[in-house]
């Protein structure tokens, strides 16, 4: 039965929705600006139990636990960016140091069209959004590899002592296409590789969390909705249903 809330509870729940949106918008800012370590420290779960079950998902699987997430989201990205810098170093002698890391690179990752629900028990929240963004990697010869990026965002947040924190974040990459090319003229090929699939790294829990060839097939089942309390089934973490076909979700 649907819970009745007092007026004060209603006000707080309205405010919670705004706070949840703000967390994901802050994520977008940090993510775009490559301030990944700062993001993990500022926005992600801090309580030890939550840190163990935290998860970062990409199309090809999940990174589970804050230690694994940090290795991927911060260290692996640093390696990617250092590879870009090495080309400048070889061509122009640019120093291989933190001050020059990110040279020639730019990105924007938005979190548009937010859909947010707070659990009736007030302990967790679920967010869905859509990322329309880009990445651009410069080269020492003055050219750049530039891509548009489109995809869904699913996120579970959990309330800790100092507010809402990201617990499970799943970034589902739909389309990556080089700018200046007619995407609608490209072949509809199920094996067409994402040009930036290196960004997915090597997840610790490898499985298909999202297959862009089948797109948003389970949107109705996966999108957030009013709910009483978080369950494994509802979760956007590795225990949840993202990427699973209907006959696994609901076996007969």
């Amino acid at each position: 039965m649907k819970k009745e809330f007092t007026d004060e509870e209603k006000v707080l729940r309205l405010w919670d929705v705004e706070e949840v949106r703000k967390v994901l918008n802050r994520h977008s800012y940090y993510f775009s600006n490559e301030q990944r370590e700062e993001e993990l420290d500022a926005l992600w779960v801090k309580e030890p139990e939550n840190q163990k079950t935290a998860a970062f998902g990409v199309n090809t699987g999940y990174y589970v636990g804050m230690e694994e997430i940090r290795k991927f989201y911060v260290d692996y990205r640093r390696k990617q960016r250092m590879e870009v810098l090495e080309k400048y170093h070889e061509a122009k002698g640019t120093p291989l140091d933190d001050e020059h890391l990110g040279l020639g690179c730019a990105a924007m990752h938005t979190a548009t069209t937010p859909l947010v629900y707070i659990a009736e028990d007030g302990k967790t929240a679920q967010f869905q959004g859509y990322q329309a963004g880009f990445q651009s990697m410069g080269k020492p010869d003055g050219t750049a590899d530039s891509f548009m990026e489109l995809g869904l965002i699913h996120c579970d947040l959990i309330r800790e002592k100092d507010g809402w924190k990201i617990w499970h974040l799943e970034l589902e990459r739909d389309h990556t296409f080089p700018v200046g090319e007619n995407y609608a003229a490209k072949e509809a090929d199920p094996s067409w590789p994402d040009p930036l699939s290196a960004d997915f790294g090597e997840p610790t829990d490898k499985r298909t969390v999202y297959d862009p060839f089948f797109g948003w097939e389970y949107m109705f089942q996966d999108m957030p909705r009013p709910y009483e309390t978080m369950t494994d089934e509802r979760s956007y973490g590795p225990e949840g249903n993202l990427g699973k076909p209907y006959y696994i979700r609901d076996p007969r």
Binding site: D7, K10, V11, L14, V17, T112, T113, P114, L115, V116, Q128, Y130, A132, M148, L150, D174, H175, F177, V179, G180, E181, N182, Y183, A184, A185, K186, E187, A188, P190, W192, P212, F213, F214, G215, W216, E217, Y218, M219, F220, M223, P245, Y246
Partner: protein, 285 residues
């Protein structure tokens, strides 16, 4: 003069405003996957004054909106799926309506006003839509289209629940990304190919009020103000017709209806007399 609202009234209106955001987002995602029933059954008001308008005119009454937006849409989805699995058998076993979808009318720049009487809400949005898919309509290529639109939406609070009452969709420009000059290419399509102003929205199965309600971009048009952003207001009845997203249909209880002079079930004809490019193609000018 603006009325001073009590705490309870302000809370009610704040919940209304956030519900509008929730409904618009739910609609955007469900529409993206062709799950029409799941939005019209849950969110829409079952009233004779319920309307849904597009370039091609206005559907009037919940039944007509449902016929077009659910029955007609589902029919098109099933046909499209039937064709797609001939080319890509990988889609067998996958959802008829939603598999392969990933296009979204991205929501931006919302202006939401809840009436002082707390019985209705009005909203305007802009959308830089990204209509992408791994398999396009031709079942040969991917799809990748920008679709820039604006929306005017009205909601009614009936039986203790916020319900979607009126929608007017206004497409402004579309084109393949990431190539070419969308605006100029569209002009060339108007004069050289089989393209007509008013055809960005497809064809409904039935329409009570056909007409060219909003023009897609041409180089001969002036600025359109079809769905102006809502101003603060007292009650839906007081919104002037030139600001309303469904003129005259302010009553969600069906006691006051707009008379439809002809019981029209007309199909939209894009070759109407005021269409600037229809005549050029026919060689009249």
């Amino acid at each position: 003069m603006k009325k001073k609202l009590s705490f309870k009234q302000r809370l009610h209106n704040a919940i209304g405003s956030q519900t509008v955001e929730e409904y618009k987002a739910r609609h955007a995602y469900l529409h993206g996957v062709g799950y029409s029933r799941e939005e019209w059954d849950y969110m829409w008001l079952k009233s004779k004054n319920t309307t849904w308008a597009h370039q091609f005119g206005r559907m009037v009454g919940y039944d007509e909106v449902y016929l077009n937006s659910v029955g007609h849409m589902d029919n098109m989805c099933c046909h499209a799926y039937g064709e797609t699995i001939r080319h890509f058998p990988q889609y067998m076993g996958h959802d008829i309506r939603s598999s392969g979808s990933s296009g979204l009318h991205v929501l931006a720049s919302d202006v939401i006003e809840v009436a002082e009487d707390g019985k209705s809400a009005r909203a305007s949005y802009l959308t830089p839509g990204t209509l992408t898919g791994p398999v396009g309509f031709d079942n040969v290529h991917r799809s990748g289209v920008w679709l820039w639109e604006r929306y005017g939406s009205e909601f009614a609070y009936v039986d203790g629940k916020w319900q979607w009452f009126h929608e007017q969709v206004c497409p402004d420009l579309a084109g393949d990304y990431d190539t070419g000059n969308w605006a100029h290419n569209r002009y060339l399509d108007f004069i050289e190919n089989d393209c007509t102003v008013g055809e960005l929205g497809g064809r409904p199965a039935q329409l009570t009020e056909p007409g060219l309600f909003h023009r897609d971009y041409t180089i001969v048009q002036t600025v359109q103000d079809t769905v102006p952003a809502p101003d603060p207001y007292t009650t839906l009845k007081d919104v002037p017709d030139d600001k309303s997203y469904s003129p005259g249909r302010w009553d969600p209880t069906d006691h006051v209806l707009v008379e439809v002079k002809e019981k029209a079930v007309a199909n939209f004809d894009a070759q109407m007399a005021d269409n600037p490019f229809g005549k050029i193609r026919e060689g009249d000018e």
